[in-house]
Symmetry: C2
Subunit: 296 residues, 2 copies
């Protein structure tokens, strides 16, 4: 297990036993409780650079309140905004603010962002189109149509992200929207009806025409854009040939151990490496690259 995993290790206890007990949630909604201050879905920082919290008195009168959990003896909540402008759904403004957060605050923020965003996008029942209402402190929404009554649960989308290795090189690709010369690990959503190992092999072949085998799990990390579970894997490639799927990627290439080491060292200084720029430390691709270098 790599030493640093972003968006993990929140200090807030999810306190599952409280969620199903409306009285227990009410008892936590005191003047002592904390309300997470968000700007749309972006974090707001206090003067010390920590996540900013206010009190429940600051919540909008009719806002749905989500129970994030308990820290110390204080209930921690977030409110669901009526809507989020589409322009605010990307990771642009959050990305910058995130670089200054402590590891625990980053985890609290990530979980809250995913949960709040899910509520904004699930005000209606996907089964019958009726409105839904909050249940279990925000860990469920129920269809209000008695003939339907479908229960909906916060979504987590598993994504495989993989370092595929051949001849002591690893395969990295760049998406069109990446900054110039930036490369990262190939990745893709796990589909219904496949294992993690099948998803790794399918995505590697689809995106780069490379056949992967000996898939092994390395590390997992939440990724709150909007609500992925990144599942980092390693695999071996059967051969060196690459056929880039140009509908997905600008380019895919093999990078040597020395090139990856240089890119990681450069990223710690906020710079691009000589051969390529790698993702920052809160991206699991960075964690995977460090793991691969350490493993020697």
């Amino acid at each position: 297990m790599p030493p640093f995993v972003a968006f993990a290790g929140s200090n807030i206890d999810r306190a599952d036993h409280v969620r199903g007990d409306p009285g227990a949630i009410d008892n936590l909604m005191t003047t002592h409780a904390r309300l997470l201050n968000l700007s749309g879905l972006d974090p707001v920082l206090d003067d010390d650079g920590n996540l900013a919290w206010t009190s429940l008195a600051e919540a909008n009168a009719d806002a749905e309140l989500l129970f994030l959990g308990i820290e110390g003896d204080r209930g921690h909540f977030a409110q669901v905004p009526d809507m989020i402008p589409k322009a605010a759904l990307g990771m642009g403004r959050a990305w910058q603010a995130m670089t200054g957060l402590s590891d625990a605050d980053l985890a609290t923020y990530g979980g809250a962002r995913s949960l709040v965003g899910w509520h904004v996008r699930h005000k209606f029942c996907s089964c019958c189109g009726s409105p839904t209402s909050i249940a279990k402190g925000g860990w469920q929404r129920d269809c209000v149509n008695e003939n339907c009554g479908m229960q909906h649960f916060p979504r987590v989308d598993p994504v495989t992200i993989m370092l595929v290795e051949h001849d002591d090189n690893i395969l990295l690709g760049r998406q069109p929207q990446f900054p110039p010369n930036n490369y990262s690990a190939l990745a893709g959503f796990v589909e219904p009806g496949e294992t993690l190992e099948e998803a790794v092999a399918r995505e590697t072949f689809e995106e780069a025409g490379v056949s992967a085998y000996d898939v092994s799990y390395v590390v997992s990390q939440p990724w709150p854009f909007p609500s992925s579970l990144m599942i980092g894997c390693h695999a071996m490639a059967k051969s060196h040939e690459i056929t880039v799927d140009k509908t997905e990627l600008d380019d895919a290439r093999w990078f040597s151990r020395a090139e990856v080491a240089d890119a990681i060292a450069a990223s710690d200084r906020g710079e691009s490496g000589k051969a390529f720029g790698c993702p920052p430390r809160f991206a699991v691709a960075n964690v995977l690259m460090r793991w691969w270098l350490d493993r020697g």
Copy 2:
């Protein structure tokens, strides 16, 4: 990697490059194409005990057709029923039929069941309540409301399921709806904002009051009831004490290596073991127990 993983290894190529190309899908919709025969969401078997297929001519005139992929040069499809009676959403009838399917057919069925079920439950946009329409051969649904336009993707729910070990015993629990004396591995959905390892520790503590550490990944398996990705893990327990959460479980107990070996051998004969009955081979808990026994 254990030798057998249920719901994995379909012979159908998902052919992702075809999905975004309506002309290519049309070209596969010939008299040569195959339509999966389902009864609600349950499998229908032919005289040889394989999955039954018909031709697209048998599809309902206005049914949405889902592109499952290609086998040989034939397009394989499933149709979306208008609705599924609630009584048919369980695993009861499917469970029995599944026991006779080949491994490849079981995988094809599982993936199709999850995808068809998702479409039935997503005819409306969760964001605005408007109807949705099928896109990309069924691997997407689009909101028809131009002011919304949200894209929706088939859901896969990651679930951690874990063998927690102490003193060469493993912790198993029974849910109230299990057959008498049946026990299985503890399990729970991964929530937004946590790693796999955090989810394993949280669920083990919530359900049995046991603190888990040294979590390691063992195996993954799709579970199409309705669309889970089971992520099988092993962990060590800090102590022997158990506090059962009676809202989740009837009981949780430690079982010895001999008891687990007996239960697995009995399950291969379709019987219950002396100490407990374990899940059948297409449940990942069975795979995990075999893995634990083999590892010695």
